[in-house]
Symmetry: C2
Subunit: 217 residues, 2 copies
């Protein structure tokens, strides 16, 4: 085991100052950071299935028991690792949308970029998707909701921009649009169809969904 030793190395010349947020809490944050970094590194390099929790614990320089104080399960670790990144990605996608475009085009742009993100690592995305579908730890439901809210918020804005007068059901349509995307994502990652096929289906479905609003004006 390479994990032994070097535990209390930074004990020398301990700076007793700046304990404002409480030393305990700070250490906890550092440890969480270390865990997340170690998990990300290993998951990306070896894949989810081929990474053991022992490896992650060793890389984070903690015992296996400690690891499970910070994450409820191995899947939980994956959510910890990618939730923030996905949130940032989603926000970046929304921030860089083309101004002059129909709502349907904007939606396709958003979903296309999200698919790009998932295409980077299909295995991790598949496991992540499984967790989003049926969260194993109830504590993750909150985090997942946060992500969903961010996505829905952006989508609702896009949908509403195409129907200036009656924005009452913009949220409903946005939810529908996301449901259609989600189902195609599942079809693709689950192996039913390839990515191109799914994106084409999605485009057609969105066109139909939005057509009533478009022909409204």
């Amino acid at each position: 085991m390479a994990g032994t030793a070097v535990r209390k190395s930074e004990a020398g010349s301990e700076t007793p100052a700046d304990t404002a947020p409480g030393r305990r809490e700070r250490n906890k944050l550092q440890k969480r950071q270390r865990i997340v970094m170690a998990a990300r590194e290993l998951f990306q390099r070896q894949g989810f299935a081929d990474t053991t929790t022992q490896q992650i614990a060793a890389a984070a320089d903690i015992g296996t028991g400690t690891l499970f104080l910070y994450a409820k399960s191995k899947e939980d670790l994956l959510v910890m690792v990618f939730k923030d990144e996905m949130l940032a990605t989603v926000r970046a996608i929304y921030a860089s949308l083309p101004e002059a475009a129909t709502p349907a085009e904007k939606l396709m742009s958003v979903f296309g970029q999200m698919a790009d993100y998932h295409a980077r690592d299909a295995e991790l995305s598949r496991v992540l998707l499984r967790e989003l579908v049926t969260p194993s730890s109830s504590e993750r439901i909150g985090e997942i909701s946060e992500l969903m809210d961010a996505i829905f918020g952006g989508l609702t804005g896009i949908v509403a921009s195409g129907m200036p007068d009656e924005g009452g059901n913009a949220a409903l349509i946005a939810r529908s649009a996301f449901a259609l995307y989600y189902f195609q994502l599942i079809s693709w990652l689950g192996g039913a169809f390839d990515r191109t096929r799914c994106m084409h289906l999605l485009r057609d479905q969105l066109a139909h969904l939005m057509s009533r609003e478009a022909s409204h004006d």
Copy 2:
């Protein structure tokens, strides 16, 4: 795989009894039946998590190794158990639809009854849903496709009945309708909202999806 089937010649004059499908094959079927029955019994009585593969093997009166010759994984067993039942349920639902009803009403009837089915055992449905989303064994993809095709076929018929002239995108709309149902099912089983809320959302989404066809007449 079963590709080596029916190599036994019925011209042989050995066993006097009916050896039409081959004794080996028959035994195999019996064994598969026993496994499925044992698994169903235990899953329903104890739940998925609290049932061990050892218990299932013992109940089916076979060794643990044999069990995994018939199912690739514990989740696989669940699909084996419930696929046929779900297929039959879906067909029964389609067979008993009210004649005089709008397509939207028919859709809600179908999805409502499907939800009833899942409501019977939420834990098993959740695991099953996870397998439908990302099948762990690629061999199940075919079985799942069969189920999906049955569902899509019925939905397409319902949708097409509401738009007599242009049935070209009935399949597309049916797929959209199912995607909306699927997403609400996930929201419900995943713990985001309760069942009533999800079914209401679904009704509104379907109303919007079908409204263009309805106002067509």
